[in-house]
């Protein structure tokens, strides 16, 4: 009875085309944003921010990136880890070469390096489709992973092949490096993720989103209504890589504080892909749900074992996590291929008629 549209009439197409046409949704979104920007930094513990919120936001951003390519445009990619890495290393090089420039500027700029590589590895999509294109992205992933170790210039010739994040400031507050507080780091990440999510939402709800989905659903028909297939696919690669690149830069600079070789390996690609599948292919909110579930799973399992009083090795938890994720993927694909996002929609439908059964 609280969540219904009765009485909400749209008198202009503009109002009807809005992303959140239902008033209750808009109120809900406003509340979430207030909680996120104001409530969290004030009330949440350092642990919660560092271990839950920061990773969640960054992984959700990467998931949005992959979702654009795989969920909206239908191009299955296993190269996400590699593209994240390009952003991370680009940011590192930029800030070590030009330390005076604000780090947030470099984070946002590093995405463009990912974009360049994304377009490069997307060029084959002119002639290759489906599984074959996926294998091409796998080529990109292995090649990029290899370069991160081999091209020593990227790590400034550090002998261990790892990078450590230097301290950078904003208005003389340290926001990266060992002295940056979780609250400050969280707010920077939140601002970037909110802005980029807003852009992504605008894109997918408009002309470009329709073009992507048309290419996904039936590319022959898309061509026949005048959609330029190649340019649309390349645009998907470009934008998707940008998001993954920024996510990678944020991951290294604002979460890990550094990077070891292998951080952006094929496992990372699969992790993000699983977040997209479970969260919902073709859904932005799904990207957040998926990131929460996949990232939170080992934490929840550890908590559950702890609560039961079982003393389980961390490696065992990891194995059980793998098994659970694998099984979940199969279950989600069988039961609800549109993932958690669709489940959420169904819940909202039920809420519409609550407290009546139908």
């Amino acid at each position: 009875m609280f969540y219904r549209e009765a009485g909400q009439f749209k008198t202009t197409y503009q109002a009807d085309q809005a992303v959140f046409p239902i008033l209750q949704d808009r109120i809900g979104l406003a509340l979430i944003l207030i909680a996120a920007f104001v409530g969290m930094p004030l009330l949440a513990s350092d642990f919660f921010l560092s271990v839950v919120m920061i990773p969640l936001l960054i992984l959700a951003l990467a998931s949005i990136g992959l979702n654009i390519l795989t969920g909206y445009t239908g191009l299955l990619s296993l190269g996400t880890g590699g593209f994240m890495g390009v952003g991370a290393f680009a940011c590192y090089k930029l800030t070590t070469i030009f330390p005076g420039v604000n780090i947030i500027v470099w984070v946002l700029a590093s995405g463009f390096f990912s974009t360049a590589l994304g377009i490069l590895f997307g060029l084959p999509s002119l002639r290759i489709k489906g599984f074959y294109l996926t294998v091409a992205t796998l080529a990109a992933q292995f090649f990029l992973d290899w370069s991160f170790i081999r091209v020593q210039w990227l790590t400034n010739y550090n002998t261990s092949g790892a990078i450590e994040v230097p301290t950078r400031t904003l208005f003389s507050f340290p926001i990266t490096g060992p002295n940056a507080s979780p609250q400050v780091r969280y707010l920077v990440i939140l601002a970037v993720v909110t802005l980029l999510t807003w852009f992504a939402s605008n894109l997918v709800h408009g002309r470009i989103g329709r073009m992507w989905m048309a290419v996904r659903d039936m590319d022959l028909a898309a061509e026949l209504i005048g959609i330029p297939l190649y340019r649309t696919k390349l645009l998907a690669f470009a934008i998707s890589s940008y998001y993954c690149g920024v996510a990678g830069a944020l991951l290294v600079f604002f979460w890990y504080g550094g990077a070891e070789p292998g951080v952006f390996n094929i496992d990372q690609s699969f992790t993000i892909l699983f977040m997209v599948i479970i969260g919902g292919l073709g859904s932005l909110t799904g990207s957040f749900f998926g990131a929460a579930l996949i990232y939170g799973l080992p934490i929840m399992l550890k908590g559950a074992f702890h609560a039961l009083g079982w003393n389980i090795l961390p490696s065992t938890v990891e194995h059980i996590t793998f098994m659970t994720v694998g099984a979940l993927i199969i279950i989600v694909l069988i039961v609800e291929p549109l993932g958690l996002a669709r489940l959420w929609q169904i819940i909202k439908q039920k809420l519409r008629v609550w407290p009546f059964p139908y």
Binding site: M213, R216, E223
Partner: protein, 266 residues
């Protein structure tokens, strides 16, 4: 509004001419040395028994298949090869036998997709959405709503097309083709699988489109009653070869046509 490219053809003039077109797949000859023309403003039917090459002919006209021989002249411009993307730009739209809708999207989005060629606000404005991009969305939404009104599909605007019954899907697909404001509309068996009432509705829509918007229509159809009632002229194909070309009455009495069909009328 007319699509870009090519000369302006007067009503009754030749809009599209097919000359000596042949197409073969490996050893199978789909179309052999076929020539006919389509006049602006008319409703032209292509008929023939199964396997006659009708769909292949349509696919050639809109650039999906490239013929091995022959040429197509559209709005005064001759070309032997054309990509579907170009055909769309020049003002050719079509529907498919097996309904080629975008199943992941709603009816409204499918028809809005048909407006893609006419939406020009670039990536920068799309990122922001408010401002010029939104204004463009609303402007095209107006046009799309006219089509929705015309086809009487208001109730199913927001339904994902995968959930619609077949007859309604065909209507949405017609809507998407109309959204392109085409000069030439190619309909591949628009009445297939419909009951009498649905056929009457679809016939009315086709006549109105031709009358109201001046769109030239080419349709492939098996229902002889529909063909005779709707079309101005008819081309008959059999085994990839043209066996008759004229008004419905002329074609009806043609012995070769009767033989090809063995006298079958719907």
């Amino acid at each position: 509004m007319k699509a870009p490219g090519g000369a302006d053809i007067a009503v009754g003039g030749v809009l599209l001419a097919v000359e000596n077109v042949s197409l073969a797949f490996g050893g199978v000859k789909a179309v052999s040395d076929v020539s006919f023309d389509i006049r602006k403003g008319e409703i032209r039917a292509i008929i023939g028994p199964n396997g006659a090459g009708k769909t292949s002919m349509l696919n050639i006209i809109n650039g999906f298949y490239q013929p091995q021989h022959g040429r197509i002249t559209f709005k005064g411009e001759t070309r032997s090869k054309m990509r579907p993307h170009d055909a769309a730009k020049r003002g050719i739209a079509r529907t498919f036998q097996n309904v080629a809708l975008f199943r992941g999207m709603t009816s409204l989005d499918n028809i809005m997709a048909g407006r893609t060629l006419r939406m020009t606000k670039n990536l920068f404005w799309q990122l922001l959405r408010f401002g010029p991009a939104m204004a463009e969305e609303v402007e095209h939404r107006h046009r799309v709503e006219e089509i929705i009104d015309f086809l009487k599909i208001q109730e199913i605007r927001r339904t994902p097309v995968g959930r619609l019954p077949y007859g309604l899907q065909k209507r949405v697909e017609l809507g998407r083709a109309l959204a392109m404001e085409p000069e030439l509309l190619l309909l591949d068996e628009p009445m297939a699988g419909m009951n009498l009432e649905e056929k009457e509705d679809m016939s009315r829509f086709i006549l109105d489109v031709n009358d109201h918007f001046g769109t030239t229509v080419v349709l492939i159809e098996h229902d002889m009653g529909v063909v005779m009632d709707l079309s101005d002229r008819v081309v008959v194909l059999d085994h990839g070869v043209k066996i008759a070309d004229g008004t419905p009455d002329e074609v009806k009495g043609n012995q070769a046509v009767i033989d090809a069909y063995l006298g079958v009328a719907h």
